[in-house]
């Protein structure tokens, strides 16, 4: 199989971009990645755009062409991918497969979401589009509600505590302070989390990721292209795994283990020849603290049910056993759903390139974990400095 690497990255700041539109954000991220790799329009074979729900957030479909249009890429084959909050990573994987198939030499991947043009409750309704409309949304279930059901069950089965969940958010915020692109650059305490309003018991406001605007872009290229263009510091894609499961939470065999994470990770580990202990840095999908906690269990960083203790014992903080969400994660860096997967990849690429300054971690490999919905889809990617 052809070797493929990330050769350029660029993203907007994450946050509430009152002055910028969907297309403004997409263009900003795209230009940054092109400048980062020092490529021209003619070098790019195709454009992949990960986006969850522009139709609901800004009333706009057909967004792959829209992004291509405003980037000045007219004529380029462009593809939109959707897998709820995993839309960005899905675009990345499709781009990867297109390069491995030999169809292109270099492609651009974008993840974009503009969420603040509608009010929060409407944005929540749009996000609930990732759940089962006929059986979940119809009874008043919300996304925090879905993860609260998971959290309650995890507490019941493994004795996980609200404090342990809170510590996951605390770690994210601590890291976000060191990330200039993050939405929330301030520290919070366990007490702050537990004293924040309950959204869906047992999850508090500070267990939940925010509503965010943002775009992220990476350029991917084949080994031949990299050699030909003499591109420096490529970060190689060593493993890519994808999986799917029931859309409705009620149909899952287990609420406390994400089958999609376990399965996608298994595929990515196998392809890369690496094991969980080889991974020292990971960006995991903590749309809610419980999901971050389950991710470190399901990715194999600790045993099932021991996530709470693993966090409590200081194993996820910067430079510890495995540095989790050095970017600030979805909780503190922000979660513009379609852009999230790409942004996670950018963080790992920057870490492996050694560009993360105050939050820099020494690692050979890095992993990204991006979930769609309440666990109906998942993509895991593993990156390395060496092929």
């Amino acid at each position: 199989m052809k070797k493929v690497a990330v050769i350029g990255v660029g993203e907007t700041r994450f946050g509430e971009h009152w002055y910028k539109s969907f297309r403004d954000l997409a263009v900003e991220a795209g230009i940054k990645s092109m400048e980062d790799a020092n490529l021209e329009r003619k070098d790019i074979g195709a454009l992949f755009v990960g986006n969850m729900s522009a139709g609901k957030f800004i009333g706009q479909e057909h967004v792959a062409s829209l992004v291509a249009d405003h980037l000045g890429f007219s004529g380029i084959p462009c593809i939109r991918t959707e897998s709820a909050c995993a839309s960005g990573s899905l675009a990345f994987r499709q781009a990867l497969l297109s390069l491995q198939s030999g169809a292109y030499d270099a492609v651009m991947v974008e993840g974009v979401e503009k969420m603040t043009d509608i009010i929060g409750s409407q944005a929540s309704l749009a996000l609930m589009g990732a759940g089962d409309q006929e059986w979940e949304a119809s009874v008043g279930l919300t996304f925090p509600g879905l993860y609260a059901l998971i959290a309650r069950r995890h507490m019941h089965e493994y004795g996980t505590t609200p404090e342990q969940l809170a510590m996951f958010s605390v770690n994210n915020h601590k890291n976000a302070v060191k990330n200039p692109d993050a939405q929330f650059r301030f520290e919070i305490s366990v007490e702050d989390v537990l004293n924040s309003p309950l959204i869906a018991d047992p999850l508090h406001l500070l267990d939940c990721s925010p509503i965010t605007d943002g775009a992220a872009s990476v350029l991917l290229a084949t080994e031949d292209f990299i050699k030909k263009k003499k591109i420096k510091n490529p970060i190689w894609v060593l493993g890519s795994g994808q999986s799917s499961d029931t859309v409705a939470l009620q149909d899952r065999k287990s609420l406390t283990a994400m089958f999609v994470t376990i399965d996608a990770a298994k595929k990515a580990y196998k392809q890369s020849g690496l094991k969980p202990k080889d991974i020292k840095i990971a960006e995991v999908h903590d749309c809610f603290s419980i999901n971050g906690l389950m991710a470190i269990e399901d990715l194999g960083f600790c045993k099932k049910g021991e996530g709470g203790k693993f966090i409590e014992d200081g194993n996820i903080s910067l430079g510890s056993t495995v540095s989790i969400n050095t970017s600030g994660g979805l909780k503190a860096k922000g979660h513009p759903v379609g852009a999230t997967g790409i942004s996670q990849i950018i963080e790992i690429v920057k870490q492996l390139r050694g560009e993360c300054e105050k939050r820099q971690v020494d690692a050979k490999y890095g992993l990204t974990h991006n979930i769609g919905g309440s666990g109906a889809s998942c993509l895991v990617h593993i990156f390395g400095k060496e092929k």
Binding site: K56, W135, V139, L149, A200, Q250, L255
Partner: protein, 138 residues
């Protein structure tokens, strides 16, 4: 304003009233697993499976639950409301509201039964959606 299609769509609501009113699901005669809502194909046996319509008893236990304090658009007047994952006696799990029960009396493992209630009341001029909710058996 974003409208949830399934709330404003008459056919979408109408097609599902049997499972929603009466817990009509199905069971695979080959592997023996029951499904709610009814599935078009057995996920275990694929096309070799044989699905038969069954009606669930409406009895089960609380598998997990949450209190929704920030509601989904359209559920503001019911807030706060409890949503549980109910494990039906016959096997499958289903999410639904747990009503007429004090929040402190709701714990994992408690037995529940279905009750017929208004699920969603579109607007004073819209369609009223009925279906099943759950109460803890005293």
């Amino acid at each position: 304003m974003i409208k949830m299609v399934h709330r404003s769509s008459i056919p979408l609501h109408w097609r599902l009233y049997e499972p929603k009113y009466k817990l009509v699901g199905n069971k695979c005669l080959k592997c023996g697993e029951s499904f709610f809502p009814p599935r078009n194909i057995c996920p275990n046996c694929g096309r070799k499976g044989a699905l038969k319509k069954i009606v669930f008893s409406g009895r089960g236990t609380i598998y997990s639950y949450t209190v929704i304090r920030t509601p989904l658009d359209g559920f503001e007047q019911q807030t706060p409301y409890v949503i549980g994952v109910i494990k039906l006696k016959e096997g499958p799990k289903i999410v639904g509201q747990i009503v007429d029960t004090e929040i402190r009396d709701i714990t994992i493992g408690k037995e529940v039964k279905s009750v017929f209630r208004k699920i969603y009341d579109d607007s004073p001029s819209g369609l009223i959606h009925y279906g099943l909710k759950w109460v803890v058996i005293e």
